[in-house]
Symmetry: C2
Subunit: 211 residues, 2 copies
Amino acid sequence: MTAARTTASAPGSRPGLRERKKLKTRIAIREATYRLIEDQGYEATTVEQIAEAAEVSASTVFRYFPTKEDIVLTDEYDPLLEQELRARPADEPIVESLRLVLRRAVNLGFTEEPEVSRLRTRLMIEVPAVRSRLLESMSVTGRMLCRVIAERTGRDAGELEVRVFAMGLIAALTETAAYWAEHDHRDDLGELVDRSLTMLAAGFAPGGEAP
Amino acid sequence: MTAARTTASAPGSRPGLRERKKLKTRIAIREATYRLIEDQGYEATTVEQIAEAAEVSASTVFRYFPTKEDIVLTDEYDPLLEQELRARPADEPIVESLRLVLRRAVNLGFTEEPEVSRLRTRLMIEVPAVRSRLLESMSVTGRMLCRVIAERTGRDAGELEVRVFAMGLIAALTETAAYWAEHDHRDDLGELVDRSLTMLAAGFAPGGEAP
DNA sequence: CCATGAAATGAGAGTAGCTGTCAAAAGGTA
DNA sequence: TACCTTTTGACAGCTACTCTCATTTCATGG
């Protein structure tokens, strides 16, 4: 605690060799995983194979990713999303903020590496373990949304209504992604998100008004 | 295929000894699991311990329940819920149907074995594996809701809007249960459900109107 | 009441994900 | 160069879960 931190160098200064190497192995592991999974499927790919392909030991793989599913699913987009949401005007309805932010994300981030998001969503509907892990990550994103909502509306982030609202939203968006994957990614994801949010905003009823 | 089925006796006739025994072991396994978990926690309880306590072999445990989490979570309430929902008038808003059906379920079913629902919801927020399994079961219940909605509104159960709506609802209710457990089951679950559904019906915004 | 067929069980071996420990190697600092 | 910290690899170990096969238990037709 009192000793000087050697890692986590000051922001701005170029990260040391150690940090760069860490990032490289992290990427190596993930890319090896993607390659192997596309080749032989998820279940057939063992962590040892991944370790070998990434030229590290199996222990190292588990040091970088707590579970095998995390190798596929870990996304560091949550803080980015939070930042973008906070940048929106506070009087804008959250559903609208989400609509704008997500549309941009789909148009930019997703098309940067479209194969990856396709692989992810495909695995999400095909491999139970991956789906589980993804559903779990929903609650993390949900809590993030709670914070944003709380800040905007002045309510408590732990309030029932806020939490229920946030989780409902996140689940709706996840289901939208699932729909996209189940239809072989034929539709435009941005449009699907739009439709979903429109429905939710129109009173949370599948017909626009309550049936 | 051509041979006569010995099991699955005709509905109405009393099930044979085999069926009764099967049900008994199923219950024995589940009760042994509950007991052990309350004693020593979820992770510390191994399947072998459960098998021993239930006086069966470990293989048998896995024959009855595909995973350890299923022993805790398997609920056969989905078909019941579906039946109750279908029994409601078709022109009633689904949110209202859910409100009524769930309130009755909370008042009847849950208070029949309140310790079990408390244990379940507690594990749901404490044990990641259980939470995962429960989230997965959400999608099953979600599909059921899709069917009910589709039948009522004449739309397709696979339609984006229907699916998104259903999953949003289920997730919202699950979050309500989580909230209940996190607050040590102090609140009245029925009231919490009421509040959640009211918010959703009022336009899917945590304030009643869009913030 | 017994013989035959089917289903349920137990025992055991095997796989793979994941955890923990410990010593060696690599990176950073003085 | 010497020293300390972090990262890594090798290994052992646990447990959930699968598969196979022999044995027992139940149902049924003669």
